[in-house]
Amino acid sequence: MKRPLEVGSDELPLVELDDVLQHRARIGAAVLLARHDRLSFSRLKVLLQETDGNLGAQMRKLEDAGYVAVRKEFQNRRPVTWYGLTAKGKRALEQHLAGLERLIQQARRAPE
């Protein structure tokens, strides 16, 4: 799942980032789920400003990677899909964010 990010400069060493979390909507969903225990599909859609189709596809990728758990239930006879971050997802997010932090620090140190 991890691969080095090519930053296009010899000055910057390669940093390992998680492929699954390299999409804006996917890392956004993971960060939001790390902060809140459970978020519904429609809440994620509003917060991440995504369309139904795109968010559905991105969440499926997180689900396939085992990073999020899905629970479907009915609220007032309407189906609601809830997402929660799994322990695996939490670990992956922590490592990914640490990698990003290193990358940005290195980029700041690198000469123009």
């Binding site: 956004g28 960060v31 939001l32 902060r35 809140h36 225990d37 459970r38 599909f41 809440r43 917060l47």
Partner: protein, 188 residues
């Protein structure tokens, strides 16, 4: 550096989404509930002072549990459930409730005259609302300040001071609840 710029853009977008999600909002019904409870309870001090302890002994815990239920229902309705946030609200308002109840016992034991006790309770509530405004929900900040000002008013104004303060608090809570409802409509 294109990729790096994209990453920074993504992170700033995620931070924005996180800020929006953590801007803690209480349900409008909760403001309206406490507007009604406070209005009634404060007016009683002027019109039926002997009923004040009984009223608050029932209304305060009932309001607390009703608020917890409204908060839980609201979290499900907006699709955002956070046990940590729920715990923080429960601990804050639970502590306010306990402290006010302990202060009320001072009145029962005649350690404090009832007039002073009412003002002390108002000051405690003012602190409770103000700190809630700082740490939980910004809308409570003004209610806390208004309560603080109200504690001065009830010691200075001789007639219907509690009713006046109660009306002012009920109006400010109602306005805060209406603004909350409107801002939620705009973001959902």
């Amino acid at each position: 550096m294109d990729q790096l710029e994209r990453l920074q853009g993504d992170l700033s977008f995620v931070r924005g989404a996180l800020d929006t999600s953590t801007r803690s909002k209480s349900p409008s019904a909760l403001y309206f509930l406490w507007a009604a409870i406070i209005l009634m309870g404060f007016a009683l001090v002027d019109f039926q002072a002997d009923l004040v302890p009984e009223y608050w002994a029932v209304a305060a815990p009932a309001g607390f549990f009703a608020s917890a239920y409204l908060g839980w229902r609201h979290a499900r309705r907006i699709g955002q459930a956070s046990a940590a946030d729920g715990r923080r609200h429960l601990l804050h308002w639970g502590a306010v409730l306990v402290v006010v109840a302990l202060a009320a016992l001072l009145g029962e034991s005649r350690a404090m005259p009832s007039g002073t006790l009412h003002t002390v309770i108002l000051l405690l509530l003012s602190l409770g609302y103000f700190t809630a405004g700082l740490h939980l929900d910004r809308s409570f900040l003004w209610v806390g300040l208004l309560m603080g000002a109200g504690s001065v008013v009830v010691t200075v104004v001789p007639l219907y001071a509690w009713t006046t303060v109660g009306i002012a608090l009920a109006v400010s809570l109602t306005v805060a609840g209406m603004r909350e409802g409107r801002s939620r409509e705009a973001t959902t």
